[in-house]
């Protein structure tokens, strides 16, 4: 049973996070912390990719900083970032009332469904690098995409035992919608009546400028190519040692390194596909090795 929340409707970015954490905690989710490595989306967190596999139930929610080097705009574009936050909830196996629970989270963050138009628009999700796909929707609020909802069918090329319902909120976009801001940088990070009120721009604008310069101009591509090769090799070695968790971290590293190289424009169109396939092979091997540990434990 869920307990009533003491939380009030959020008025700033951090309250949005707190409210979602509180809400999903009351739905029985573990509240985990971000994975401490660079990754392109919350799905890469072991709490989703690996835990989606195997026969054990798993409810978890967490914020994941997500890095997409190619999306950097030097802080000039009010709606695009190379570093942003996703809030992710994963419920495995997906409960029958998962959509109602999701709609409850919208009410919790202040979206009144008697005033707004909420729609579930077909959007099938696929991650070529993770060898994962699922069916679901983009959720629209008055025409704005505020979440992604996916029922995982395959991860690492493996059919899942139990289907996870995965809900991803793009926090900045959602906050812009909730707090009616035209620029990400104008979002209140904490309450405007705080002792030290700060905006998203106060916290991250400089980071966007510098990281964009790094991503597009200064990243040492020779070094990155070496890092990719090293991570790929290390991942393979760890798979042989049947250590899927450290191996998977190398896979994440390879994936992010590829994204950086891609942003630097040093990977041609034809090479691109082969890099994606190389990462996918790593992810697949990690998932298979992880799954073996899960099944083995269950049998014991």
């Amino acid at each position: 049973m869920t307990e009533p929340s003491a939380r009030v409707v959020p008025t700033c970015f951090q309250e949005l996070i707190l409210t979602l954490q509180d809400y999903w905690a009351r739905q029985g989710c573990l509240i985990l912390q971000p994975f401490d490595m660079e990754m392109g989306a919350g799905t890469f967190h072991t709490a989703t990719t690996l835990r989606a596999l195997g026969p054990r139930p798993w409810y978890a929610a967490y914020v994941q900083p997500s890095r997409r080097p190619g999306d950097g705009r030097y802080g000039d574009n009010p709606m695009r970032l190379q570093h942003y936050y996703q809030f992710q909830a994963i419920l495995k196996p997906s409960p029958t009332d998962i959509l109602e629970r999701y709609l409850g989270s919208l009410e919790a963050i202040g979206i009144d469904t008697s005033l707004h138009d909420i729609r579930f628009v077909e959007d099938d999700w696929e991650s070529p690098t993770l060898g994962a796909w699922g069916l679901g929707w983009e959720v629209w609020c008055d025409g704005s995409e505020i979440s992604q909802f996916t029922y995982f069918q395959q991860v690492g090329g493996i059919d899942v035992d139990l289907v996870s319902g995965e809900i991803t909120y793009g926090l900045e976009r959602l906050a812009m919608y909730l707090f009616d801001k035209k620029s990400i940088y104008d979002l209140p990070f904490n309450r405007t009546d705080s002792e030290v009120p700060l905006t998203y721009g106060d916290v991250f604008l400089q980071n966007e400028r510098e990281q964009s310069a790094y991503n597009f101009e200064h990243a040492d591509t020779d070094m990155l190519f070496r890092h990719f090769a090293d991570a790929e090799k290390e991942c393979g070695r760890l798979i042989e040692r049947r250590l899927p968790l450290p191996a998977y971290e190398q896979c994440i590293k390879a994936s992010h390194t590829f994204n950086l190289l891609d942003a630097r424009g040093v990977i041609s169109v034809t090479e691109r596909q082969s890099y994606i396939l190389r990462v996918r092979d790593l992810a697949k091997a990690c998932c298979e090795t992880w799954l073996a540990t899960q099944t083995a434990k269950k049998a014991a």
């Binding site: 574009n77 409960p95 005033l115 729609r119 077909e122 069916l135 029922y151 289907v163 169109v269």
Partner: protein, 683 residues
């Protein structure tokens, strides 16, 4: 007579799948009913974003006993066949089968009696079988289950004659079965709790009260009427878009069309961009002012009756549109900072096809082709055509086309106009993908024609050269469309293009011929006439080829034409019959007949007529006066009729005379075949 009502309630079904799924459900259930020997009145299905519903009227409450006969193998057939028959018919031994003489021998027959009984007993099985067989384009599992459906299934109404049918569908795993019942849910936000229904009419009424319009046709009608009314009040008109209407009707259970306003700062962005952005990202309808130009209002269809009358929804949609159009305007402003020429180097990074190089390579080929085509297009300026080909693909590396691929060409045209390039060049860039289908407009300006032809001929020749030819079911590079495009451009603009100069492969010409035949058949041209002209071979000028087809067809519509065809048939039949008897004959009658051997005036008259006709047909064909050639042929009719009346060809006692007469008949055939292969015309 009783009614059967079925509703399958699930989470949101993709709009594009709803119509087909409803049709499939109806087909599968109706097949099941027929298979169970049940007659019924009518069956109807409906789909909303969350439900498929089916109602069947006029079912009997009980099924009569039926007996089905099955014919087995011949009496005395091998044991394997007998066993198969027994197993299929559910018989334990041949003692239970009957021997019957069918007139073609004795066969085994099985008479399978099916007990009748309450209709309600067979319906659950029919529902389950239909659900198993329903072919969703993509389906999924959920929870711990193993069942596949388009999205998680929540409830099933299965009522027969007002009573719930026994049965359930189990998703598998640890999940609760979905039991057949009489309850459903209404609108996701405008209705609370379960709704119990007694029958179809009650179901429709209760759904309506719960803010669900069951019938998609009615939802469309509500959207159109509401949108038009809102537009009229704002003095604009709705731009109809049937595909969008269909999709939007599949996104809402309770449609509420509302009018929003496009921020004025975006109105200088090309209207095509605004329309595509609104449609593909937001599913908004665009509107037009009274003079037909793009208006600054849009129609959004909400799925909710908001307590503030929709002000928040409209405001939210206007806001999201602003951010969408900011992107579009950003691209429009950014893209114009570079000229199309300056963008060209980036085409080297875009692979057109792994074995056909990059888009830059493609552009080089288009320039060469355009140069070759221009001399055949009256009024086309060579420099302009080459420039247009040169820049035709540059918009592929603009931000706008990256975001909206469907605007390729359209944006190139705008950017070319912004650069003040010659209008003909801009139009050619904009037109060069056209026609994209039978209903698309066909380029008609000379430079556009040249570049549009180059684009399609390059695709055909290039893919042909690497063996990527279309097959019956697979045409991934849309080469059929490319060839139909060439045909339309050439024929509609009467371009005298010798296609043979552009490709070496014979089978590519044959591919064109097939497309042309299909197209002409669709236009009502007789296929045998088309065949007769195509059989001549060696013709690569489609305009000339069609002129000839038309002339032959009109000739055959006249009495003279029909009679001459009959005469041709008689001549050909006699020659063919003799040729069959004597294999050496063909070679011996190939040449001209000898006038000195002719005995009767009718022979001489035909001979003279043939000579005269040949004199006229040759020049007429050379000057493409096909009507003239036909008129000349018409002169053959009277002498040939007289020949068949008075002259016996196969004079058995005079071999030389016979041979000469066969030569004469053969000559008739040869002369006429210069115009078309008349042997292919069906009488």
């Amino acid at each position: 007579m009783a009614e059967f009502l079925l509703e399958l309630l699930s989470e949101e079904i993709p709009a594009r799948m709803q119509t087909r799924a409803a049709e499939d459900l109806q087909r599968l259930v109706c097949d099941g009913l027929k298979g169970a020997g049940l007659d019924f009145g009518s069956a109807r299905t409906f789909a909303t974003p969350r439900r498929l519903a089916l109602v069947v009227d006029g079912l009997p409450a009980t099924r009569a006993d039926v007996s089905e006969e099955r014919r087995g193998p011949r009496v005395g057939a091998p044991d394997q066949a007998i066993q198969g028959f027994l197993k299929g018919a559910g018989l334990a031994s041949l003692d239970l089968a009957e021997k019957r003489d069918t007139g073609r021998g004795e066969f085994w027959f099985a008479v399978i009696a099916k007990k009748g009984g309450p209709t309600a007993e067979v319906l659950p099985g029919i529902i389950e079988a239909a659900m198993k067989a329903l072919p969703w384009p993509k389906s999924m599992r959920w929870g711990s289950g193993t069942m596949s459906w388009v999205r998680p299934l929540h409830s099933i109404i299965a009522l027969f004659d007002g009573k719930v049918l026994p049965g359930e569908v189990s998703p598998g795993g640890d999940m609760m079965p979905v039991r057949f019942g009489a309850t459903t849910r209404g609108h996701r936000f405008l209705s609370k709790g379960a709704i119990e229904v007694a029958g179809f009419n009650d179901y429709v009424a209760r759904l309506r009260a719960a803010h669900v319009v069951l019938d998609p046709a009615e939802r469309k009608q509500i959207i159109l009427a509401g949108a038009e009314k809102a537009c009229a009040a704002a003095q604009v008109t709705l731009r109809s878009d049937e595909a969008l209407l269909e999709e939007v009707a599949g996104l809402v259970e309770w449609p509420v069309p509302m009018l929003g306003t496009i921020d004025g700062q975006f109105m200088d962005v090309p209207p095509e961009v605004l329309t595509v952005s609104m449609k593909s990202h937001q599913r908004y309808f665009s509107t037009a002012r009274n003079d037909g130009t793009f208006a600054n209002r849009f129609v959004v269809v909400a799925n909710n009756v908001a307590r503030d009358g929709g002000a928040t929804i409209v405001g939210g949609n206007e806001r999201v549109l602003r951010s969408r159009l900011s992107d579009a305007k950003f691209f429009w402003d950014q893209d114009r900072k570079l000229t199309l020429e300056e963008r060209l180097p980036r085409l080297r990074d875009i692979v057109f096809h792994a074995r056909l190089g990059t888009q830059a390579d493609r552009v080089t080929r288009l320039e060469i082709l355009a140069e070759k085509i221009v001399p055949h297009v009256p009024g086309a300026d060579l420099a302009q055509a080459i420039l247009a080909a040169h820049l035709s693909k540059a918009d592929l590396v603009t931000g706008m086309v990256g975001e909206f691929p469907e605007l390729q060409g359209v944006m190139g045209r705008y950017y070319a106009l912004e650069e003040k390039l010659p209008a003909a060049v801009a139009e050619a860039i904009g037109d060069h993908y056209a026609p994209a289908g039978p209903s698309d407009r066909c380029p008609s300006a000379p430079v556009s024609i040249a570049v549009a032809l180059a684009d399609k001929l390059d695709a055909l020749v290039s893919f042909w050269s690497i063996g990527e030819k279309p097959t019956g079911s697979r045409d991934p590079y849309a080469l059929r469309r490319a060839s139909l495009g060439v045909i339309r451009i050439v024929v509609e603009n009467r371009i005298r293009l010798p296609l043979g100069k552009f490709f070496e492969a014979d089978d590519l010409m044959a591919f064109f011929a097939d497309r042309l035949k299909v197209q002409m058949r669709e236009k009502g041209v007789r296929h045998d006439v088309v065949d007769a002209v195509f059989a001549l071979g060696g013709e690569d000028d489609l305009v000339r080829l069609l002129a000839r087809v038309e002339a032959v067809q009109s000739f055959l519509a006249t009495e003279a034409g029909r009679n001459l065809l009959t005469a041709y048939g008689r001549a050909a039949n006699i020659v063919r019959a003799e040729e069959r008897k004597d294999k050496t004959l063909s070679a011996r009658i190939a040449g001209a007949p000898d006038e000195a051997l002719m005995e009767q005036n009718e022979e001489k008259a035909v001979y003279a007529a043939l000579a005269a006709v040949e004199q006229r047909v040759g020049p007429a064909l050379a000057s493409e006066d096909f009507a003239g050639a036909m008129a000349a042929l018409a002169d053959l009719r009277a002498p040939i009729d007289a020949l068949f009346d008075k002259v016996t060809v196969n004079v058995s006692d005079k071999p030389d005379l016979r041979l000469n007469r066969l030569k004469l008949l053969n000559q008739i055939r040869a002369t006429m075949d210069k115009v078309a292969d008349f042997s292919r015309i069906e009488g």
